[in-house]
């Protein structure tokens, strides 16, 4: 029983963390260009001097 009292807040906190992370990702535009992100990994780094 004591275990549950401790585990429940911990589980909720971790779950809440995941939710907050998702909402942050959504607001900061991480889901705006899913196709582009898939293609960008194929690119060379285009920073000047890196190539």
């Amino acid at each position: 029983m004591n275990m549950i009292l401790m585990l429940m807040p911990v589980a909720l906190f971790l779950g809440g963390l995941a939710l907050a992370a998702f909402l942050w990702a959504l607001r900061s535009g991480q889901y705006d260009d899913l196709d582009g992100a898939a293609h960008r990994i194929l690119q060379d780094d285009s920073q000047p001097g890196d190539r």
Binding site: M8, L23, G36, Q43
Partner: protein
């Protein structure tokens, strides 16, 4: 780094000048960046919006971008441009966001730079056209979905321990923690439903959201009361997971609609183009089309579409009228000839005097016809709406009857409220809410994979109900571009023709250059003679490629095919024949549509003999030719009055009113903007099969949606007596709701199993795919290939 880019550009430009690129030259290419003084390009500059640090931001649409190379070409190319601060491509939306220093660069400069990179780009107002991901509703739905999902998962975990037998203080604790998670989630994630329910109630109507809101609020308040009274049952889990499932359906629905809405809005944004007006003092200015006045002189460069209606006052050229009239043969024009907005000027620059302002152009006339056709109400009611009309009153009556029955039988308000709440929540339209959106999302994804885009779910539902298919000819049954059919025996003539054809932008020349496999002969001094043909010198002798008159041949065949003549020196002219070929699977598709019991007709704007040949080749008995836009419209109205539901397939401006008037319409991706906007579905590729495929998917989607309704009804028929009898414990409610939602979703996924017909011609399909890739890779790949070739040449 910088060198690299300029070489990429040079390669791209060189390739395009060979006629390998489909993109039209940028409208302002001729003015150039240097001469585009500030203030003259108002038409383009109005798209720029102030950003931070004194920079300006502009959003552009570049529909040609397709791959990783495109992203790299655009971003690197722009970043290497003086004055550009940042450039970011969004591939999903085919957009580029550019911030630049207004002191050093203009929007016209950005467009011109993108043009040199091989991308036809147009600025637009991103704020006005925002799509579902960035629009507020979409984001709100997604946030609500996340919160509801989080709460549903956690409350469900707590509920499991209650179902497993937790009692007394433990159960109360679980219930209280559930309440703590569920209540804020219900307040937050339920907002879309409460708002819509209030809006409906305030005008005295019932919609699907009224019973949903009622069920959620009632269930959670009853559960809160139960928890405080140390009761056995709490429906927090059911209330939250109900919201979760419904939000999934709502989000899918929003996605389907949002994608369509933004596509339509983007098309509208694109059509606001500019015209190059020549002032009396000889200076040129780019102004918005709506600012062009009667009597103004407008310059139309070769390869540009005429922005307004007018009369040619200077210059000779060939005019491609196919988009407007369906006539496939380009016609030579000169001073005094009339040009309509939307027609393509092919070979030489012309100046036209504006004879009609925007409201009087052919384009505006067609837009009026479309508007009139669209304003006529259709009898179609969406499936989901029909279901709600039956469902919403029904569920309220059942809940009220159950509440009254239990009050009379037991006199216990608490029990009666519990029963009513559990009844509302268990019959709530989880399955109903998912039934149609899940099917439409699955069908939309299946269609998208085969290159068919649908405007909205209603388009799909309407497509399933058709009984007649009306095709346009040019660009719909045919590819809308000429192909070489016959060539002379003489190899020398062929290679001379190839050399001349390579030097011209005329579509017939391009078809010749593409169709002739010979090595081009060493023809020098190649010059285009607008309205006549191309000429050059081969071994000191004059060679001419062009019309019969230009080459001194006896033309005037008047057949369906087009002839191009070649004369070397004083020798007798030889003839090349070209024809607008049918789409490779046109006949099979028409036959398959007929086999499905559909009546197929042909409405062509082209000459009678051309229409007759095409009709005979694909097997359409019922055809008519030389149809003007209003005649096509009238033909469709007549069919409608006869009670037929017509699918109109067409591409030209002249088809647009008919597309709008039809029960449902489709147009190829190469169609005019107006037609694509008017059409309910758009398909891409050289094949006609997508029309058949769209119909089959629509039929299947309709069948699946009806099955889903049947499943939901069956589920309710079982669930209502159980709930009304008081057996719907939270565990039963959770199991019943989840299982019905999953069954409905799985059933919807069956739509994806429909495979397109290949008509037993895999080889041909592959060959077609190969040539289409070879002839039109995306500009990014072309630029990359050009850079590689230069690299190799240097090594």
């Amino acid at each position: 780094m910088l060198d690299d880019h300029s070489e990429v550009d040079a390669g791209g430009a060189a390739l395009r000048s060979l006629g390998g690129c489909c993109g039209a030259p940028t409208p302002l290419g001729s003015t150039g960046l240097g001469s585009s003084a500030f203030g003259t390009d108002r038409a383009l500059e109005r798209w720029a919006k102030p950003a931070q640090d004194g920079l300006m931001r502009v959003d552009l649409l570049a529909p040609d971008m397709r791959c990783a190379a495109c992203i790299a070409t655009i971003e690197d190319g722009l970043r290497a441009t003086a004055g550009v601060a940042t450039a970011r491509v969004n591939l999903s939306l085919r957009r580029v966001g550019v911030t630049f220093d207004p002191e050093r660069l203009t929007v016209a400069g950005v467009v011109e730079r993108l043009g040199r990179l091989g991308f036809d780009a147009k600025p637009f107002d991103a704020a006005a056209v925002d799509d579902f991901r960035s629009d507020k509703t979409g984001r709100e739905l997604l946030s609500c979905l996340a919160v509801a999902g989080f709460a549903a998962a956690n409350v469900m975990l707590l509920s499991v321990s209650v179902w497993a037998g937790a009692a007394d203080a433990t159960r109360d604790l679980m219930h209280w923690v559930s309440a703590l998670i569920a209540l804020p989630a219900i307040v937050y994630a339920g907002r879309p439903f409460y708002r819509s329910a209030l809006a409906a109630l305030s005008v005295g109507r019932l919609n699907m959201d009224v019973p949903i809101s009622l069920a959620v609020i009632l269930a959670s308040s009853v559960s809160l009361f139960e928890t405080a009274a140390h009761g056995q049952h709490a429906y927090f889990d059911a209330a939250v997971s109900l919201l979760f499932f419904l939000l999934i359906g709502r989000f899918l629905d929003h996605r389907v609609r949002g994608a369509a809405r933004s596509a339509a809005a983007e098309l509208a944004a694109l059509s606001a183009t500019s015209a190059t007006v020549v002032r009396p003092d000889g200076s040129r200015a780019a102004v918005a089309v709506d600012a062009v006045g009667l009597g103004d002189v407008v310059e139309v460069a070769a390869g540009e579409r005429a922005p307004v209606d007018g009369e040619v006052i200077e210059g000779r050229s060939d005019l491609d009228r196919s988009m407007v009239t369906g006539e496939t043969r380009p016609e030579p024009i000169g001073a005094g000839d009339v040009v309509h907005a939307g027609m393509m000027n092919l070979t030489g620059p012309i100046r036209i005097r504006v004879t009609a302002t925007e409201e009087d152009t052919l384009l505006a006339e067609i837009a009026r016809l479309i508007e009139a056709a669209e304003s006529r109400p259709t009898k179609h009611t969406r499936l989901a709406d029909r279901a709600v009309r039956l469902y919403a009153p029904g569920v309220h009556i059942v809940a009220a009857v159950a509440f009254a029955g239990w009050m009379i039988a037991t006199g216990d308000l608490r029990v009666s409220m519990m029963i009513a709440a559990s009844l509302l929540i268990i019959t709530c339209p989880c399955a109903l809410g998912l039934a149609v959106p899940a099917v439409q999302a699955a069908a939309g994804a299946a269609l998208f994979r085969r290159g068919v885009l649908m405007k909205d779910g209603a388009a799909l539902e309407k497509l399933a109900e058709i009984d007649t298919v009306a095709f346009d000819k040019t660009g719909t049954l045919t590819l809308g571009r000429p192909r070489l059919v016959t060539t002379p025996e003489d190899g020398r003539a062929r290679s001379a023709a190839k050399a001349l054809a390579l030097g011209s932008r005329h579509p017939l020349s391009r078809a010749l250059a593409e169709g002739l496999a010979d090595r081009p002969a060493a023809v020098v001094d190649i010059a285009e003679r607008p309205g006549e043909g191309v000429e050059g010198l081969l071994d000191g002798r004059l060679v001419r490629l062009g019309s019969a008159a230009f080459c001194g041949a006896d033309g005037g065949t008047g057949g369906a095919e087009t002839a191009v003549w070649l004369r070397i020196g004083e020798a007798a002219p030889v003839r090349f024949t070209l024809e607008d070929t049918l789409r490779p699977d046109a006949a099979e598709t028409v036959a398959a549509l007929k086999a499905r019991g559909l009546r197929v007709i042909l409405l062509s704007g082209d000459r009678a003999e051309a229409a007759a040949r095409a009709a005979a080749a694909v097997g359409i008995e019922d055809w008519s030719a030389e149809q003007r836009p209003e005649q096509k419209l009238a033909a469709l109205e007549a069919l409608k009055d006869a009670g037929r539901k017509v699918l109109m397939v067409g591409d030209g401006l002249n088809d647009a009113p008919a597309l709008a008037a039809a029960w449902i319409s489709m147009s190829p991706a190469e169609a005019s903007d107006v037609s694509r906007t008017a059409a309910g579905l758009v398909f891409s590729g050289d094949r006609l099969e997508p029309v058949l495929y769209g119909y089959r998917v629509a039929r299947s989607a309709r069948a699946r949606a009806l099955e889903n309704f049947a499943l939901a009804t069956l589920y309710n028929l079982i669930a209502i007596p159980i709930a009304a009898a008081g057996f719907a414990t939270p565990l039963v409610a959770a199991l019943a709701m989840s299982s019905s939602s999953i069954v409905v979703t799985l059933n919807a996924l069956r739509v994806r199993r429909i495979a397109p017909e290949t008509f037993g011609a895999e080889d041909r399909q592959d060959a077609g795919a190969a040539t289409s890739v070879a002839s039109s890779p995306c500009p990014g790949r072309r630029a990359q290939a050009a850079a590689q070739r230069l690299e190799e040449a240097r090594a």
